[in-house]
């Protein structure tokens, strides 16, 4: 009887679609989260999700395709943020804060002025995992495969440029290109996952599974395997719980992810706590 209750949500097609989308989104954010966390880009990930909101609002108001409008806006913002952070002009944190909050505020102002597509924008902010379409699933699947492919093919370059960028340049790695590539992948990931868990919660899914994985392992390769698994499992558990508890799917996913982090933090011992304490800007 209990098993039947637990499986009850799977009778609904919208739940099945939401489950697939959320699990893929969790794995995708988990992969990129490793680079976000180890490169001290947590704030960039957070800011970028806000910047993409501006593009989403603009595309909704101007009746441009969501993926085209928000995508162009997000990639341009991501590359700009990457350049600002790399050149260390202005104080990177301040500069990122200005660019991303201005973009976010621009989105709000556009909505206030033209008052269109309010429902769509709320979905972007808070996510509507139960309303995902086949197009959303296709987009997340395509980006997940793309990111997975890039990480597999450019694994050593990505590792070198993340661990030791100065020596990587000397060794012939195209570090500047790799950084742009990471920012583009991050922007596109935010773009396709924002309708699942919402821009406000994306940064958490980019950070928490990777930080949890960091506590469990001392190896980059194993962290890159663990983080997407933890992200996907958090989404899987969060989706099921949200149905039975009648809570927001996005919020429940993040709470499950945070609970996994807390449990690992408490159970893993002092060495694991030291590892996570050493991460930058968390």
């Amino acid at each position: 009887m209990l098993a039947l209750d637990l499986l009850a949500p799977y009778d609904f097609a919208f739940f099945q679609r939401g489950m697939i989308a959320a699990t893929l989104a969790g794995a995708l954010c988990g992969i990129l989260g490793v680079f976000v966390v180890l490169r001290g880009m947590s704030y960039i990930g957070h800011g970028l999700s806000h910047a993409v909101f501006g593009g989403a609002a603009a595309s909704a108001v101007m009746s441009i395709n969501f993926f085209v409008g928000a995508g162009v806006w997000g990639i341009v913002s991501g590359v700009l943020i990457g350049r600002i952070a790399r050149r260390k002009v202005l104080g990177a944190d301040a500069a990122i804060g200005i660019v991303t909050t201005a973009s976010f505020a621009g989105g709000i102002a556009l909505l206030n002025r033209y008052g269109q597509a309010r429902k769509s924008i709320e979905a972007v902010l808070f996510g509507s995992v139960l309303g995902v379409s086949g197009v959303d699933i296709a987009a997340i699947t395509a980006v997940t495969l793309l990111v997975l492919g890039v990480v597999l093919v450019a694994y050593r370059s990505l590792l070198y440029a993340t661990f030791d960028p100065q020596v990587a340049v000397v060794s012939g790695e195209r570090v500047a290109f790799i950084e742009v590539m990471l920012m583009v992948m991050l922007s596109v990931t935010i773009l396709v996952t924002m309708r699942v868990i919402g821009t406000l919660l994306i940064s958490a899914l980019l950070v928490i599974p990777a930080a949890t994985a960091r506590m469990i392992t001392n190896s980059f390769g194993r962290m890159l395997l663990l983080s997407p698994v933890l992200g996907a499992m958090s989404c899987l558990a969060g989706m099921n719980l949200s149905y039975h508890l009648d809570t927001s799917a996005g919020a429940t996913i993040i709470l499950v992810s945070a609970a996994a982090f807390t449990a690992t933090y408490l159970l893993a011992g002092r060495r694991a706590r030291v590892r996570v304490a050493s991460l930058h800007h968390i």
């Binding site: 590792l159 070198y160 030791d164 100065q166 001392n218 980059f220 991460l279």
Partner: protein
């Protein structure tokens, strides 16, 4: 000297905006040489290394190396993020680009094990870099550079921030590598512990002040021009020993220094 130089810079000037880091520097390094670069902080040592690697562009002059010359660069251990989740094996594996997949080939794995074993790091492939001793940590980065089969090894301050025992380990390691045919160029602040043990020293302070053996370069006149402060030099067992300018010299040490100067004048 220049005909078989593996690395050469001629009349090299490096500037960062209006700040000139190096001016009119000419240095040629031949295959198989072991060269140290000494100078005060801000004298342009690291800029010179970075220019030789191609990471910094010359404002004037030229840096030349044959296309086939591969450089292995060993950074200062202080610049390494020791909390990064990475094992010794992963540090080595990141350098090879023959195969881009995350896993390395059996051949590469065997080569990595050989390099590690030759540097006294055998069996540590799965250890996290933070779990190693100071000497082992420095050697891991030498191993990474060696794994890429470089023609020249460039080391930035290899003994900076390490204890005496580790310094000895590093010095022995570098002499071993040199004896096995490696060309080595390093920067150091350590005049007595490292520089005085090298066959060739270049003293720089934005320009080349002196270039020669430690007996030719570690002399008060050169050191004062290099560091901008008077330094005393004694000799012990045929090796020059540099004393800080504020060192209180006893009369017997002053006598020893005068005797050394007379002896060098008599036998240049």
């Amino acid at each position: 000297m220049s005909s078989n130089a593996i690395l050469r810079c001629d009349a090299l000037t490096i500037a960062y905006g209006s700040n000139i880091a190096l001016e009119n520097v000419t240095i040629h390094v031949r295959r198989g040489e072991f060269v140290g670069i000494v100078g005060p902080s801000g004298s342009g040592k690291t800029s010179l290394l970075r220019a030789l690697t191609g990471a910094v562009r010359a404002a004037r002059g030229s840096v030349e190396r044959s296309r086939e010359v591969r450089i292995g660069y060993v950074p200062q251990v202080e610049s390494v993020d020791w909390n990064f989740p990475i094992t010794v094996g992963e540090v080595l594996a990141m350098t090879r680009t023959r195969r881009r997949w995350p896993t390395i080939t059996d051949e590469e794995r065997n080569e990595a094990a050989e390099v590690l074993a030759s540097l006294g790091l055998g069996g540590l492939e799965n250890r996290h870099i933070r779990e190693l001793s100071g000497g082992q940590q420095q050697r891991v980065f030498v191993a990474r550079a060696m794994f890429a089969k470089p023609d020249v090894l460039l080391l930035d301050e290899p003994t900076s921030g390490v204890d005496v025992r580790t310094r000895h380990e590093i010095l022995h390691l570098l002499h071993d590598l040199h004896a096995r045919g490696s060309t080595i160029l390093l920067t150091t602040h350590d005049l007595n512990g490292l520089a005085s043990h090298l066959p060739r020293l270049i003293c720089i302070n934005r320009e080349v002040v002196a270039d020669g053996s430690p007996r030719e370069t570690l002399i008060p006149e050169v050191l004062e021009r290099t560091y901008g402060a008077p330094l005393h030099v004694l000799e012990h067992g045929g090796m020059p020993i540099v004393l800080d300018h504020d060192y209180e010299l006893s009369e017997s040490l002053r006598d020893a220094e005068r005797a050394l100067r007379r002896s060098r004048q008599a036998n240049p």
